[in-house]
Symmetry: C3
Subunit: 332 residues, 3 copies
């Protein structure tokens, strides 16, 4: 594809070299001969020379760059679009393939694909163009919207509701029982977990994620929220819209998380905690109680700047202890 044509399709403007042939798209670390690449910082410009790149997306024209430049207001977005143009193909509609087990009363939209080894129970409905990969289990009465992709070996248990344009990566479990017991007479009695899970439109769920069903009512993942791998979401949790939840986060039962919240990797959120809209929590932190909009770190969390300062002194504690001892001796 010529650079001119590609630039147009990704909403960018070529400064020169519009006739150059682009063979692929790649990040600066893996660029090959003839690729369009992306420059996120002028400091990296020297690496372009030896890379073989045919052209580069930039935010503003750079005098130091010798290959054709394509200017985009949001360079990373333009790069994402270029990857899409070059590599993303619609999944073919293959229908229900032999070796799949689909209940007679399941309702499948048009252009749905169900791969072999998948199991679709009674009362399920699946929207147009959704793809179900091998090894997927879909329990009774589950509803899945349009243009979803359910990767291999995913389990979606009975009654779960999934919106449109949702992707669930391999090995994830949606609708497992919440972790609820009553301790009585020396043992733990199970509290039946009879609620559901609602996953709204445009959510992406990573691999080996677990989302528990509610005790009663629903566990909810709001529209456009993105969840990384190996995340745990407890029963009755409510997550708002457009959140980003990085890998290995654990969210305890009945926690409430607002819109546009960012939780770093391995964060833990205690049962019944509340995190308001727009909060950002640093990796490995622990959240209890209620967080107002802000940036937080620590176990349990404090405001991020406060944590940075405390953390800086932490290393010097042995020295502080020695100085204190010296003062005490002087005063004796």
């Amino acid at each position: 594809m010529r650079l001119k044509e590609l630039a147009e399709r990704i909403g960018a403007r070529p400064l020169s070299g519009g006739e150059v042939e682009i063979r692929g798209v790649a990040g600066l670390d893996s660029v090959g001969e003839g690729d369009l690449t992306l420059l996120t910082s002028e400091k990296l410009a020297p690496r372009l020379k030896t890379s073989g790149a045919a052209a580069v997306i930039v935010k503003e024209p750079l005098a130091s760059v010798e290959i054709p430049q394509v200017v985009a207001e949001e360079p990373l977005l333009a790069f994402a679009r270029a990857l899409e143009v070059f590599y993303v193909r619609p999944r073919p509609a293959l229908g229900v393939m032999p070796g799949a087990s689909v209940a007679d009363d399941a309702m499948l939209g048009s252009g749905v694909t169900v791969y072999p080894m998948s199991y679709i129970a009674s009362g399920v409905s699946i929207g147009d163009r959704t793809v179900i990969y091998p090894g997927v289990f879909i329990g009774e009465g589950v509803r899945i919207g349009e243009d979803c992709v359910i990767h291999p070996n995913v389990t979606i248990r009975e009654g779960v509701e999934i919106g449109s344009r949702v992707t669930v990566h391999a090995g994830s479990v949606i609708g497992s029982d919440g972790f609820g017991y009553v301790f009585s007479g020396g043992r733990h009695h199970k509290i039946p977990q009879v609620g559901g899970v609602v996953v709204e439109d445009d959510v992406e769920i990573g691999a080996c994620v677990t989302i528990d069903r509610a005790t009663t009512g629903n566990t909810v993942v709001g529209e456009g929220t993105k969840i990384d791998n190996l995340v745990q979401i407890g029963h009755n949790v409510k997550i708002g819209r457009h959140c980003v939840i990085v890998a290995q986060v654990g969210i305890g039962g009945s926690a409430v998380i607002g819109d546009d919240v960012m939780l770093g990797g391995q964060v833990g959120v205690a049962d019944h905690a509340t995190i308001e809209d727009g909060c950002r929590v640093g990796a490995k932190s622990g959240v209890m109680g209620r967080l107002k909009r802000g940036v937080y770190s620590g176990i349990p969390v404090m405001p991020h700047l406060k944590w940075l300062r405390a953390r800086a002194v932490l290393e010097r504690l042995p020295e502080l202890q020695r100085r204190l001892r010296e003062l005490e001796q002087k005063l004796r």
Copy 2:
């Protein structure tokens, strides 16, 4: 069902309104018109008014509550039972369904269900009424007791022994190889993991949990212990009875955990650590060495109260440093 009848079945006593028709059971957050609900604190009583609840389980009669009250000594237990009465149905016995792969010599009890896409190897025995969902793998010689539920896409490897009334949630792996190597000549040589796993009666295992087989001997999960999602249990670990292990806990090889132990979310337990009966470890803590009965927090753990006090000062470290500096200047 009339309130009178329901109360009797859950071991509770209606104060009034015994003839009221109960349509469902739900927590206060998701209660609908005509539901029986639960009040865990009198402070929440105002929320009852607008909820549409038809009746409420309480520990003691409350003057401020205007709808029929049902008194139970253990309200949460009564609530759990009410959920059971209303929503929990026995799973139908469907036998070995077409599309399942079951070895000729596997011994299945009466009323067993094996869904399609499951694989049961040679020498397996499965007790009465146990249900095996789709996508489950059961390796050679595995023994599973009565009334178990093995959810979809679970892997139970060769030789594992599972008691009765055990539930294993979707995606979990029982009997994977322990993580054991000898470093020699610049590389890691595998120590064959030839032991087994024993899961005793009434254990519940969450989704995407991994329990490694022992090097030799057995990894053991004791009777009545409940394990949440995404927990890792290393080789040769011994876990006692009636423990509660919250999500994303990791337990290193050969650790020994007593009875009635509670491990909070994301706790780590080092290889060969010992945790005595009745210990409680706060979320995100790290355990090394030996813990005597008590409550602990921190990395590594200290007694919880000590940790609370240290944590309180931690935030004030920059201030302490400043005050120390001022004292030093005064004395100079």
Copy 3:
């Protein structure tokens, strides 16, 4: 097997009792009558007496031990070999079993086994003697080397390359999409993840591990590296050779990890961090930036000894605060 013969096969030397019959091999915790066992410390010698062990592997002859001793320069390695001799059998070559779904153009080497319920897509190549257990998904164009074992319910997505003698434990996912989005116009737009994953020879990957494919280029796991259960490896991560990555570690996108690195359980490594050859990072630590060869702990990490000292004072913070207050009062 007689002790003499076994000793020869494991590269060890019997001090006496070469004619003793050995019935099995087991660690000291699970030794049975007639077993060969291992003594890792002279302190444990008294336990041998009551154990029923027939012989014991030691590094140097011990006067206090009354049963036949076998001397090995690397006792644990000799023990591993003894387990192998007694218990490890080659997996039988069963071919493509009925109920497996294998694309017509997939290329399978000689002695390959594909169990039922597995799905092998178009363009896949699988090396000699490799075993594919039930419930495995292998996507388009995947290449797997010789003598690999892919345990049940594993997902290997399109284009992934796996070397020889690689073991992947149950439930793991290799080649899931990296977690990459551009935030624009109030929502997160997906950056297509069109790169691959390369797993080199002799790697072992635990259960429920997730390894994301690169955005462009490859995520790489180097030769001989061993990965425990529930580990997350982000997109474009490069891991060197002969590393040991303990359970529940999370490695952020584009991190670079050298050779012979040891990451303890539940460690987190931030995006773009670099860990040089030979580093050791203590359990539960958090790595940012660049680590030079050394031993580290803490969140974020500092040199391990520094951390030990700071951690020791941490417990005494309330006392330090009190002493500081007393000094201030004296000086007033």
